[in-house]
């Protein structure tokens, strides 16, 4: 078990999410920086998508009640061993100071954190309020003890992982409704953007030169995906993250390349961002 001394501002259990339920209005959820989450689990020998802690902007203090094998990946928190498994004995305190680069940090424990799954996942969906409650001060986090390492047994080797920082440039593909604007991709690529007010795991608000519609009327609700860039009436784009609404009536003009979606997890309000067209992204729909 691990006790929460300081919970930080947005600390939740996350795993591989609950994809496949969007047809019933359920967001996919899951760790925002999926590759960092997977690496943390791999380091402690978890192979089945066990739940890890997703920590936002540091500010968390945990105390081990029992001995645990842990690993921390994602945004580097000063003072915490990164990208390597380590053993923490009873009473050991771990303080996650705010990272100077990147925004989301993952703590995996051998065996995984225990929580009641909802639709097969222990991920906390911030939009729908599905899954275990966000972590609070005083919480005692249960760990599945069946997979702890025997005393003296060597933990897995560390991994060489690229340091996580906010991306400067993110690659985008055309979206299904780019024809509601004059040159949506050109506008996104040709301007600088700043991350606006925090809407957490649901999306990233972008502040910059507004996109202006060339087409009037309302768009009937249609499905949306993680990484989609939608443009509401004020012309300020929103990049959807894992807890996004499953349908919406604002035109989606572009989509972040799947290989860049994990990096979106490391953007925070005030950061600057630019886009570039993904190589291989044709212009306009392919006529089939």
């Amino acid at each position: 078990m691990i006790e929460v001394i300081d919970a930080g501002v947005a600390t939740t259990l996350q795993d591989r999410g609950r994809p496949g339920w969007a047809w019933l209005g359920v967001p996919p959820s899951g760790a925002l920086d999926r590759s960092s989450y997977e690496a943390a689990n791999a380091l402690v020998g978890n192979t089945d998508g066990q739940a890890a802690l997703e920590i936002t902007g540091g500010g968390v203090t945990l105390r081990c009640v029992d001995s645990h094998v842990l690993a921390v990946t994602g945004a580097a928190c000063p003072g915490v061993p990164m990208d390597a498994a380590f053993t923490a004995g009873p009473g050991h305190e771990i303080r996650f100071e705010p990272p100077t680069q990147g925004f989301r940090t993952y703590l995996a424990v051998a065996g995984g954190f225990v929580a009641r799954p909802v639709l097969g996942s222990r991920s906390r969906d911030q939009l729908s309020a599905l899954g275990p409650e966000p972590v609070r001060r005083g919480d005692i986090l249960d760990v599945d003890g069946a997979r702890t390492w025997a005393h003296g047994e060597r933990p897995p080797a560390s991994l060489m992982l690229r340091p996580r920082a906010a991306p400067d440039v993110v690659r985008i593909w055309p979206g299904p409704r780019d024809d509601w604007f004059a040159d949506a991709i050109g506008h996104l690529v040709g301007h600088a953007w700043r991350i606006g007010d925090d809407i957490g795991r649901v999306g990233l608000r972008l502040v910059g030169s507004p996109l202006r519609r060339t087409r009037l009327g309302e768009l009937p609700s249609e499905g949306m995906i993680t990484g989609a860039i939608q443009v509401p009436h004020d012309g300020q784009p929103i990049v959807l993250l894992a807890d996004h609404p499953t349908t919406g009536g604002y035109p989606v003009v572009a989509v972040v390349d799947p290989q860049d979606v994990d990096r979106l997890a490391h953007l925070r309000p005030g950061d600057h961002l630019r886009f570039e067209a993904a190589p291989g992204a044709g212009s306009g729909p392919r006529v089939v």
Binding site: W23, P176, P220, E222, I225, A228, T246, T247, P258, P285
Partner: protein
């Protein structure tokens, strides 16, 4: 014949269609397709990025529209009876809806309960189904100012749709009444009562029994 299959990045396409509920289960069968999400007049198809998935999707759409599609099992089996949802029609917007439609309150209730509603798609929240079949006389716009809190079980209309709010949430739809029917239960085998394709009748009652639905 070209088919409107719009690219949605390298792992998804958006299909425009007049029959999302009929098309979605057929697209689910295409090799490489991982998930389908019906919308008002679209189906979003998430796939694994293999080449030519968009062509396979277009082929299925063409088959459906030309009448050659293999009938999905559910299409040939007898349709399940509609779900009946008991409603106490005492919602805070009922009188205003009557005024906007130029009808009496009783007529509004009669129109709502005599229609056969069908779930077209879900969105906004888990289990929130957009139900088609609302008579045209009751097509009213949303409130200009949404409520900060609509109670779970609220029965509401907006535009051409009816809905039952699965949990408390903000909402701008017009509230006609309330039900104790459970439309979302994440722990159930079928968590959504009103999954796309489900047909629904609303029944006016004077009192709600807890969790009653037939």
């Amino acid at each position: 014949m070209t088919v409107p299959v719009r690219p949605y990045g390298p792992r998804a396409v958006l299909v425009e269609t007049h029959s999302p509920v009929a098309l979605a289960p057929l697209l689910r069968l295409v090799v490489g397709v991982e998930e389908v999400v019906p919308g008002a007049c679209t189906v979003l198809v998430l796939h694994d990025g293999r080449p030519d998935v968009d062509r396979s999707v277009a082929d299925v759409v063409r088959m459906l529209e030309s009448g050659d599609a293999p009938a999905a099992e559910s299409a040939t089996a007898p349709a399940p009876p509609p779900v009946t949802i008991d409603v106490v029609y005492d919602g805070p917007d009922l009188e205003e809806v009557a005024r906007m439609s130029g009808l009496g309150v009783d007529e509004v209730v009669d129109l709502h309960t005599s229609a056969l509603h069908v779930s077209a798609f879900c969105g906004f929240a888990p289990g929130f189904a957009y139900l088609e079949g609302l008579p045209a006389a009751l097509h009213v716009p949303r409130r200009s100012t949404p409520r900060t809190r609509v109670p779970a079980g609220s029965v509401a209309i907006a535009g051409p749709y009816s809905a039952v709010y699965p949990t408390g949430s903000p909402g701008g739809w017009r509230l006609l009444g309330r039900t104790s029917a459970v439309v979302w239960d994440a722990a159930a085998d079928d968590p959504a009562l009103l999954a796309p394709g489900t047909s629904v009748r609303f029944r006016s009652v004077t009192r709600l029994a807890d969790g009653e639905v037939s």
